[in-house]
């Protein structure tokens, strides 16, 4: 079943064909589950926006402190990585939203694991990069030289 078909089913105000033989209670819980899925999707989007926003801020801040020549090394790369992870999060979570929607309709829902592990891994790598770049800028050009 593709996305267009899902949209058509949800936008028409008639009950779905699947629900006809099932009790009303199940239909209600399905609506609650769907809106919970939508809230989860929005939470993913907020996480992605936080990542992209900080990417932009990091890059813009680097422009302000131009004259200090020895700190130009990792700023824009760090900002770019922030933004790229945020961008990938948008794509993956959108696909995930429709997958979960399909699973709710089919009663085959399984909570995500690989996606969560991947996101934690990416943000954790990012944190290590942040700590490394802070140490690199703090300890100066003599100890840690990063070619731009």
């Amino acid at each position: 079943m593709n996305i267009k078909e899902f949209d058509r089913v949800q936008l028409s105000f008639q009950p779905m064909q699947v629900d006809d033989e099932k009790p009303k209670q199940h239909n209600l819980s399905r609506a609650i589950d769907r809106s919970a899925n939508e809230r989860t999707f929005l939470a993913w989007m907020r996480a992605a926006m936080a990542l992209m926003g900080f990417g932009v801020i990091i890059i813009r801040l680097r422009v302000v402190q131009m004259p200090v020549h020895y700190r130009q090394a990792m700023g824009w790369k760090l900002g770019l990585i922030f933004s790229l992870i945020g961008w990938a999060t948008v794509l993956i979570s959108t696909v995930h939203y429709f997958t979960v929607r399909h699973q709710i309709d089919r009663d085959t829902y399984n909570p995500p694991d690989a996606m969560v592990l991947f996101f934690s891994f990416a943000v954790g790598l990012l944190g290590i990069g942040v700590i490394y770049s802070i140490l690199a800028t703090a300890l100066g050009p003599s100890s840690l030289v990063i070619p731009d």
Binding site: F54, I58, L61, S120
Partner: protein
């Protein structure tokens, strides 16, 4: 806890029937995880911002000063938050599938302690910075 997610996936097939709000609970757990991750991201971002803002404060001083330590602390707390929230997510996920979930105050208390320490660091930093800039680049 972090690595045995495959076994819970198998068990869910049997458990699915009795708990009608299972999907909702899992989705709420995922949102909680994402809220923790957002907090971690903002901590790391603020760490970078603090270090970068600090750099143009004394323009002629080649030494970076003390701001980077605060930024490093922020980023380290953010990184720890990523680890703990991931572990917590899989723990709660397991508890939901087995109907043994109990809310824990431990992480909340630990996290507010960490943020309180960071806030104290920020306030301390605010009081130390202006004196050094008015006092004509006295090294901190």
């Amino acid at each position: 806890m972090l690595l045995n997610w495959k076994s819970t996936k198998v068990i869910t097939e049997k458990i699915k029937r009795p708990n009608p709000s299972r999907v909702r609970d899992h989705l709420a757990n995922e949102r909680t995880y994402l809220a923790w991750m957002r907090t971690a991201i903002s901590l790391m971002g603020f760490g970078v911002v603090i270090v970068r803002l600090r750099t143009f404060h004394p323009p002629l001083l080649p030494t970076p000063g003390n701001g980077w330590k605060l930024g490093l602390l922020f980023s380290a707390v953010g990184l720890l938050t990523v680890l703990f929230s991931t572990k917590h997510y899989f723990g709660v996920r397991h508890d939901i599938d087995y109907d043994t979930y109990e809310p824990t105050d431990r992480w909340v208390i630990l996290f507010s302690l960490a943020i309180a320490i960071l806030g104290a660091g920020v306030i301390y930093y605010m009081f130390t910075v202006p004196s050094s800039s008015f006092g004509l680049m006295a090294p901190e």
